[in-house]
Amino acid sequence: MDNDSLKARILEIVPDVQQEENKQYLTLVVPAGRLHDLAGELRNTPDLGFDFLFCLSGVDYGKQLAVVYHLNSTAHKHSIVIKVKTDDRVNPAFDTVCDIWRTAEFHERETYDMFGIRFNNHPDLRRIFLDEEWKGYPLRKDYADEVNIVEF
């Protein structure tokens, strides 16, 4: 399926998506509340068949925090990028997708570790790379560390 027909199919499932500029992938910003429903549909609808979550990453845009999902269908050979964004920097939280793509379990732990984004219903949400007692979330733009980080 090409990008235009993919977009049309997804608009049927979630009407209020926004498209973002991307030369390679169809990139859609989805309301956080609809993320889990859409993810289930993307995986289970036969003509979409997104069975492979090949990247899950957190992004700090300064004001907003976001999670980006790169999806691929091994059967239909098409890919898509889904984004969810939030303005809440104190308690950012999205629904987990690790019940849909198992690999998201570790990816979401990493995103939590580095950005402090929580994932609702995640079975084992704790830090994965840093120590358990680590304070703060190092990949956030407002992360401050006077001891180790030298500012220019």
């Binding site: 790379f129 840093l130 120590d131 190092p138 992360y143 560390d145 180790n148 980080i149 030298v150 500012e151 220019f152």
Partner: protein, 180 residues
Amino acid sequence: MKEKDFQDNETLELFRKTGSGILMTTIDAVIDWGRSNSVWPLTFATSCCGIEMMATGASRHDFARFGIEVYRASPRQADVIVVAGTIVNKMAPVLKRLYDQMSEPRYVIAMGACAVSGGPFYYNSYHVVRGVDHVIPVDVYIPGCPPRPEALLYGVMQLQRKIKLETITRPEESMIMGRK
């Protein structure tokens, strides 16, 4: 031997010629010859420098020619640990334990910018040890990012020169820092 004497080849060779008595220097020469030509490295690599280290061990560069040959998977059988790569804060206690488990005499080569000083992670990094000498004593520093196999070979030969200057009569004067 003082550390400042370790400047150039001439000083080292001169020091060797004007050492102690004939008997001890002969025994030293035999022991040092054996030790310096059979330096077993530990299989330890944390990033891209490890790939260069493997290339140095492979057929084209082949540092078995210099006697640094069999990679040991156990620190108890290794003589030298080549710290090839970035050491993050979480890895530092592991590295210290590996070093402690090596039997003496033991040597450390800091290979590459990360192991020497933290390298590209010196600024704006929250998790990298700024130089492996914060954790364990280092004998030879090899700059580069990563160093070419020739550089590692040169570093290994420098280590062999250091080993050849050891003496069993005055081990406390040995400049190999990690011995005690």
